[in-house]
């Protein structure tokens, strides 16, 4: 992980305080002076500050956390929650798309299929990963892998973290909309358990295209939205700088979506966000996945399909019948 090299505005006071504590600790260790009392005073202050900043985040702040460059990405969770990963590449038609990564792996010893969006760190990796924005090939690879998993009766765990499907000339020529549409239908009829977890950004159709699960989980500081707050504000208010207001209107946080029963569980993150303590975030996620997977494995293939059908068939808010 990239550490604390990048800080959001609202994180900064806390990070500065923590830096000061570290410095005092180093000084104490060198034995020059004892700052014990000062350190414990500052630590209390830091705990208070953390509580203050993170207990009532605005939706826009959550949006920023969900995109934090130091936030654990799919491959970070993959490395810690899974063993025996065997990556499978390519859609067998046109190309390999590295903005979606997938393959077989073991979860708690059990062979499963894992598929996730992958963002990059730094310019070079972001070019390779296309900032986590798949082209049709990425979705077609995901579909191929999901059908492969079904053929071998393996559960599918997907991890969502994308600003959205890539809007480009080639992507349109090769059927971006078709690729997404096919995934939605295929996921509706797969006879194996599917758990989808939003770990960062759930950007519209490009997220949903690997998100039709029996369970949908969201990490506490992740978002899931039909449109980005920036795009929403430039369309509705003709002004991209009012994204903060758009984020409030869109109600896109895990807490919001748990409240309206779109998702099944909010997976708690350590104070300050997953990037402040990736190990703990990973442990929470692992525990939730284990519980949901064992529930779903008790269901027959027919029950799983029926369950997924009913789950999505029921979504909507309207009057009349």
């Amino acid at each position: 992980m990239a550490g604390m090299s990048y800080a959001l505005d609202f994180e900064r006071p806390l990070l500065e305080l923590e830096k000061k504590i570290e410095e005092l600790k180093t000084l104490s260790h060198t034995g020059a002076m004892d700052f014990g009392a000062e350190i414990s005073k500052l630590e209390k202050k830091a705990a208070r500050l953390q509580q203050e900043i993170f207990s009532e985040l605005t939706r826009w702040q959550v949006v920023q956390l969900s995109r934090h460059p130091s936030r654990p990405y799919f491959l970070d969770y993959l490395g810690h929650l899974f063993t025996d990963f065997f990556e499978l590449a390519g859609d067998r038609h046109f190309a390999e798309d590295a903005s979606i990564v997938g393959g077989f792996a073991r979860f708690e010893g059990l062979p499963v299929m894992v598929i996730g969006h992958q963002k990059g760190r730094g310019t070079k990796e972001n070019m390779l990963r296309n900032f986590g924005m798949p082209r049709p090939e990425g979705y077609r690879k995901a579909r191929r892998l999901m059908e492969l998993a079904e053929r071998f009766g393996k559960p599918i765990l997907t991890f969502v973290d994308t600003p959205g499907a890539y809007p480009g000339i080639g992507a349109e020529e090769r059927g971006q909309a078709e690729a997404i549409a096919v995934n939605l239908e295929v996921m509706c009829r797969l006879k194996v358990p599917i758990i989808s977890t939003v770990i960062g950004e759930g950007g519209s159709g490009g997220a949903l295209a690997i998100g039709v699960g029996n369970r949908i989980l969201m990490l506490e500081n992740s978002i899931y939205s039909v449109i980005s707050p920036e795009a929403c504000s430039s369309i509705l208010y003709r002004d991209p700088t009012r994204a903060e207001r758009a984020a409030e209107s869109l109600k896109l946080t895990a807490k919001d979506l748990l409240g309206i029963k779109i998702i099944d569980e909010l997976v708690p993150e350590p104070p300050g966000g997953a990037h402040r303590d990736p190990a703990r975030a990973t442990a929470h996620l692992g525990k939730a996945l284990k519980r949901h997977l064992s529930e779903l494995r008790a269901m027959s293939p027919e029950q799983l399909v029926q369950h997924r059908y009913l789950r999505f068939r029921a979504l909507g808010s309207f009057a009349g019948r």
Partner: protein, 282 residues
């Protein structure tokens, strides 16, 4: 394509003739494609196809259904479904108010009409978008009605036909609108069990979440000439790649060339072609 970028001139022409602002504008229409001035009753008699250049102008959903189905065969369903404002959404206007004024001016409850009809005596479960209603955007009511088109087809074991014209998701309904993509696909996945054809007809324009779900899942996919069809709207793509798009990009003809849809069919031939497909498959 966002729904509000549509020129108001067209919206007026589409409002069932109720809101014609002046006699001049009411009686004459200008073709978007060749600039020909056309006597409106002449245009309407010609199914809103320009007599000079063949341009397919938008055609009101109810007129379309009345003309493409057997005369008097269409029975509308789900007329009691009404949109809510689950997020309490407001931009320049409150979503609630926007719904109210749109419903009043169009006389439609939302952006989709669904029901049962017949083509050459054969029962079909059919639906059509009302593009003038907030750009045919798909919120909970539209998604529900689309799902019910597939469910009625499943119950009746009959073919399904959907005419799409939509800018995509209705962002005023937030995540609910996104989830309609999965809901309609779930209903469609179940309909496939009865092995009856689903014909998707894409009208101008079909983009976003509607293109990226049931509209692109037709057993047979037909488009009207020059219809704009794609995932991202042209403006979004131009902003992303910072270059101008080539002429004809995302038009129906471009999609046929790239192998993405089956056929472009002239409005006047559509009924006969639909009947042919149903005859071969149903």
């Amino acid at each position: 394509m966002p729904w509000f970028s549509k020129k108001p001139r067209i919206a007026r022409a589409e409002a069932n003739g109720k809101q014609q602002p002046s006699r001049m504008e009411g009686l004459w229409a200008k073709c978007e494609s060749c600039d020909e001035i056309i006597y409106r009753p002449e245009l309407e008699k010609n199914w809103n196809i320009c007599p000079a250049c063949g341009h397919h102008a938008p055609w009101p959903a109810r007129t379309r259904l009345a003309n493409l189905l057997d005369s008097g065969s269409f029975l509308e369903n789900d007329t009691r479904l009404e949109p809510l404002d689950p997020l309490g959404f407001a931009d320049a206007k409150r979503y609630r108010d926007r719904l109210r004024t749109t419903r009043k001016s169009l006389g439609e409850a939302d952006a989709f009409i669904g029901g049962l009809g017949k083509i050459d005596g054969r029962t079909v479960s059919v639906g059509c978008f009302v593009f003038e209603f907030m750009g045919g955007s798909m919120g909970s009511v539209v998604g529900e009605k689309v799902a019910r088109v597939f469910e009625r087809a499943w119950e009746q074991k009959c073919p399904a036909i959907i005419f799409s014209a939509s800018g995509g998701a209705r962002m005023q309904e937030g995540i609910f609108s996104l989830m309609q993509m999965a809901k309609t696909s779930a209903a469609l996945a179940r309909f496939r069990e009865v092995r009856k054809p689903y014909v998707s007809v894409m009208l101008h324009p079909t983009t976003g979440g509607v293109a990226a779900s049931f509209a692109w899942l037709g057993d047979v996919i037909i488009a009207e000439p020059k219809a704009l069809i794609g995932f991202a709207g042209p403006r979004v793509i131009e902003q992303t790649i910072r270059q101008k798009l080539p002429p004809g990009f995302q038009r129906a003809e471009f999609l046929v060339e790239h192998g993405m849809i089956d056929s472009i069919i002239h409005r006047k031939e559509l009924r006969q072609k639909l009947s042919q497909v149903l005859g071969l498959l149903a």
